[in-house]
């Protein structure tokens, strides 16, 4: 192909120029030494802004945990009081647990654009630790499999009485282990960079974690293999956890709710939310952490397209369930529609559909929006709010069903709407703050963008002139 490399000096600044120019900006080429030193330095917590934010988030997290503990003492055994906590845990797990898939799937498909994104997406999985902590009161309040001498409907047909409780914890711990493995697999070369470019405890820590990494061919090959294996393990665990949470913490609490698509619906909306939180994280990193040199429109555009695809997929999964219930007209079918759609949470449902599906659909459908930093970030915000409302509708409704009605064939009288109390608000804000705190704290140890991924992105990316236009040449090593 007749192509000519463009000199890096000819490129425009990301913040300058008109909208049209911004669309044709080419990523600035940064020297490898500068990338390493800048990204290693970005982990220093000298910035007052970051330090203040970490203090605020830490305090809010602790207050949330304290209130949660008090609630556990006061409202022990009253299942309906824990709906909002369940909704928040499901929401946070959906959001932060889904984010690493943004890194895993395109990495396995050898997409180049994902390289600068992978680290942040993987770090989000650490929030599973917070979700697991908040799952403890839920596990304590979840009904046993045998209620009033009879076995309730569940996926644990012949399992021990505490199967849902035990497996929820086991699966979450497995997910955390897989997440740590994934982050470590990704971070090995960066630990070596930390060893070679920092001082003090970070140097010692980097040296210990790098395990003698010097970047030989065999080490690189093993690294890729490890990322693939840990990514696959994370993916399977992620799907399993969604299966457990969606069935044990929502579906099985509502008599007559039998929905084979629900675990997949849960997982799909989680990936949608994971994409959204990744966009917001990258947007914040560009704006407040000086990462605009490394994060370009390519990343936002690509994730924007995926967000759009998953928004449509949410609609498809929802309608696939809805149509079957709508046509079925059996008692349990009508119960699903009357309680979870038209019932006490009707307006939550309407708002949820608006934010999770309808508005992002008509927002992200425009290429101009997807090819802009702010446009994708707004789309991401809408989706996150929609997913939150969706989880509130499903989990609060499920936890509101009294335990003494769990053996009914299907619900005939619907519990009225449950509204959050002050403790619920503290818990929800605290849990959210905890997740953000964990991710932010992780960026104080590892750079928010992976150094070696950014280096590889630059190595494999060449802007070139082709006839009268400018194109990108992207290396595809096997």
């Amino acid at each position: 192909m007749a192509s000519e490399a463009i000199h890096s000096g000819a490129q425009t600044d990301a913040h300058s120029g008109t909208h049209e120019e911004a669309h044709h900006e080419l990523p600035a080429r940064v020297e490898p030494d500068v990338i390493t030193s800048e990204l290693v330095a970005s982990t220093d917590s000298n910035s007052t802004g970051v330090r203040n934010w970490m203090w605020i988030l830490g305090i809010v997290t602790l207050v949330g945990i304290g209130v949660g503990f008090a609630k556990l003492l006061i409202e022990w055994g009253d299942q309906s009081e824990w709906g909002y906590t369940a909704a928040m845990v499901a929401f946070l797990f959906s959001v932060f647990g889904g984010a690493p898939l943004v890194a895993i799937a395109p990495t396995l498909a050898k997409a180049n654009w994902v390289r600068p994104v992978a680290r942040f997406a993987a770090l989000c999985s650490l929030a599973s630790i917070v979700c697991t902590i908040w799952m403890i009161p839920l596990i304590l309040n979840l009904p046993m499999l045998v209620v009033d001498g009879a076995r309730r409907r569940s996926i644990w047909f012949e399992g021990p009485d505490v199967s849902p409780h035990m497996w929820a914890l086991v699966s979450m711990i497995t997910l955390i282990t897989a997440a740590l493995g994934l982050i470590y697999a990704y971070a090995l070369p960066d630990f070596a960079a930390m060893r070679d470019h920092s001082t003090g405890w970070k140097q010692r820590f980097g040296s210990w974690m790098a395990r003698g990494w010097i970047g030989t061919t065999i080490q690189w090959r093993t690294l890729r293999l490890r990322i693939g294996m840990m990514g696959t393990l994370y993916f399977f665990t992620f799907v399993f956890v969604h299966f457990i949470i969606s069935t044990d913490f929502a579906m099985s609490l509502v008599p007559g709710w039998r929905d084979a698509i629900f675990p997949m619906y849960h997982a799909i909306s989680s990936i949608q939310a994971g994409l959204a939180v990744t966009v917001l994280g990258l947007w914040a990193a560009r704006r407040y952490m000086g990462m605009d040199k490394y994060l370009h429109l390519d990343q936002f555009w690509s994730i924007g397209r995926l967000m759009f695809a998953f928004t449509l997929l949410w609609g498809y999964f929802f309608i696939s369930a809805f149509i079957v219930y709508w046509y079925g007209r059996s008692g349990s079918d009508k119960m699903w529609i009357d309680y979870l759609i038209l019932g006490p949470y009707f307006w939550v449902f309407i708002l949820g559909v608006l934010f999770i599906w309808f508005t992002p659909w008509w927002w992200l459908i425009w290429n101009r929006v997807r090819r802009s930093y702010n446009g994708t970030a707004i789309g991401a915000g809408l989706i996150l709010f929609g997913v939150f409302l969706d989880r509130v509708r499903l989990y609060v409704a499920a936890w509101a069903v009294p335990e003494d009605r769990i053996h009914e064939r299907f619900l005939t009288e619907y519990p009225s709407a449950v509204f959050p109390d002050v403790m619920d608000l503290f818990i929800m804000v605290g849990a959210l703050a905890g997740c953000v705190f964990v991710v932010l704290a992780a960026t104080r140890v590892l750079p928010i963008l992976s150094i070696w991924d950014v280096q590889q992105f630059n190595l494999l990316y060449r802007p070139v002139n082709y006839m009268k236009t400018k194109v990108s040449l992207i290396g595809k090593p096997d």
Binding site: M1, S3, H23, H24, E25, L26, P27, R153, S154, I155, F157, V239, F243, R258, D259, A260, I261, F262, P263, M264, H296, L297, D298, W301, Y316, F317, S320, A321, I323, V324, Y325, Y327, G328, R329, S330, D333, R371, L459, L460, R462, P463, V464, Y466, T469, K470, V471, S472, L473, I474, G475, K476, P477, D478
Partner: protein
């Protein structure tokens, strides 16, 4: 990318147009043999129309049998085209290029074939019109537009129209190429069909934009077609095993599994028959096998969910059906065969790189998938109807007749016959895609290593 080699355009033209400009020797005998089978098949269908559905194994309470199973099977195969052409085009997967035409073609012909099965199943095919069009306004007898049985023909005919258009737009540059290389009636035919294609920048732009727009427009149709087919069953709570919310995506992912496997089968045949080793390379099989591992595993997850939530409710009739479907003779043998051929053998094979790069093994493994997927449809449709229920007083088990089996075999011959006929007049590997792939391929030097590279639109 490691196996790619530079192929000059003259060689591309000569080799890829060999089916049209220089008919291979095996072509005529094969087409004649298939033609005879097709003719016998039509004769059998004629017998069935004349004698009625009594010549089939259908009887109370199993009214939907092998014909409906085969209808679902061919609709499933038709998902190959859009999966390969549209989705891979939108995701800019380079390896799709030599495969697109064959996949689109498979879509069109399998849809045509699928449409014939409900007609046959109706017993009196002309009466199918009553299902689709209003025929008696005076008495208010109208087709039930709320029924998925009405949505089915609408969705499938929309999909067929769109797929044909998609295929035709992609054919235009190749038709122009053929027009310039032929004489006589062939030249006249290609002149008409190429619609004045000259290959100027405006035409290329329109052709590209048309392809992308159609890809995006076809995607919802692609999803809707098999979803609607699944709703033919899922909206019926009366039959155990059918009323499941997961059916729509489960059918779609199963269709992709089946359709992409059929493309692998076809690619292997094309490579052997036309000797297109330079164009259909092991790397293409490798990429398709990787894609199939993901799709098949997703499909297995849906199968698992379908089964577990069937028994989740602990309803006695549903449990009885699953007992019949999985553990009782002869369904248990079919069920085991379905799981082994649909997933265990093929995916087990594809996990090995040596298999992914071995054309013969890929061919056989893809055939296994479609045996398994046909059985899956059979096991979804028939046991639910065949299970003896309290208010069924006349009851017989279903065993497809010889005529039904022959018509199934006929459908395979019919699709192959149409494909071969097409290959006589139109290239099966798109020339322009092949050349574009050459143009978009380059390499970049990193240190002492040359890395293969591709051209992409700038940010």
């Amino acid at each position: 990318m490691q196996q790619r080699r530079t192929i000059d355009q003259i060689h591309t033209n000569r080799v890829l147009l060999n089916g049209q400009l220089d008919t291979p020797k095996w072509w005529a005998p094969t087409v004649i043999t298939l033609g005879i089978i097709v003719a016998i098949g039509f004769f059998m269908i004629g017998i069935m129309v004349n004698k009625g559905l009594g010549v089939t194994g259908l009887s109370r309470p199993v009214y939907w049998g092998l014909f409906i199973t085969t209808f679902v099977f061919w609709v499933g195969i038709s998902h190959a085209g859009i999966m390969i052409s549209a989705i891979l085009r939108l995701s800019q997967a380079e390896w799709r290029r030599p495969v697109t035409r064959a996949a689109e073609l498979l879509t069109v012909f399998s849809l045509l074939t699928a449409l014939m099965f409900p007609l046959m199943h109706a017993g009196r095919p002309w009466r199918i019109i009553y299902y689709i069009l209003p025929y008696d306004f005076a008495r208010g007898i109208m087709p039930n537009v709320r029924s998925p049985l009405i949505w089915d023909p609408v969705a499938i005919s929309t999909y067929l129209t769109g797929s044909t258009l998609f295929l035709y737009i992609a054919l235009l540059p190749d038709l122009g190429n053929l027009r310039d290389r032929t004489t006589g009636w062939q030249n006249a035919l290609y002149t008409i069909l190429s619609l004045g294609w000259r290959g100027n920048p405006r035409q290329w732009k329109l052709q590209t934009v048309g392809g992308i727009l159609l890809s995006a427009l076809m995607l919802p149709i692609f999803v809707s077609v098999h979803s609607i087919v699944s709703w033919d069953f899922a909206v019926t709570p009366a039959v155990e095993g059918w009323h499941s919310t997961i059916f729509a995506p489960y059918f779609v992912i199963g269709a992709v599994h089946s359709g992409v496997s059929a493309v692998v089968t076809m690619m292997a045949l094309m490579r052997w028959l036309w000797k297109w080793e330079d164009f259909i390379r092991p790397e293409h099989f490798d990429a398709l096998a990787r894609l199939l591992i993901v799709v098949a595993t997703g499909w297995l997850a849906f199968t698992f969910l379908e089964l577990i939530f069937a028994v989740y409710g602990l309803d006695a009739p549903e449990l009885a059906l699953r007992e019949l479907q999985i553990f009782q003779w002869p369904w248990n043998i079919l069920f085991i065969t379905f799981v082994i051929t649909g997933y265990i053998i093929p995916v087990g094979m594809w996990l090995q790189k040596s298999v992914r790069n071995n054309i013969a093994l890929m061919f056989w493994s893809s055939l296994f998938v479609n045996i398994g997927m046909w059985l899956e449809r059979f096991l979804i449709i028939v046991p639910g109807l065949a299970r003896r229920t309290p208010f069924v007083y006349t009851w017989e088990s279903y065993r497809p007749s010889g005529l039904e089996w022959f018509i199934l075999f006929w459908s395979l011959a019919w699709v192959t016959f149409l494909m071969l006929l097409f290959s006589r007049f139109f290239p099966l590997v798109p020339l322009f895609e092949q050349k574009e792939s050459e143009t978009f391929s380059d390499s970049i030097k990193i240190g002492r290593v040359k890395v293969p590279a591709i051209v992409r639109e700038a940010d």
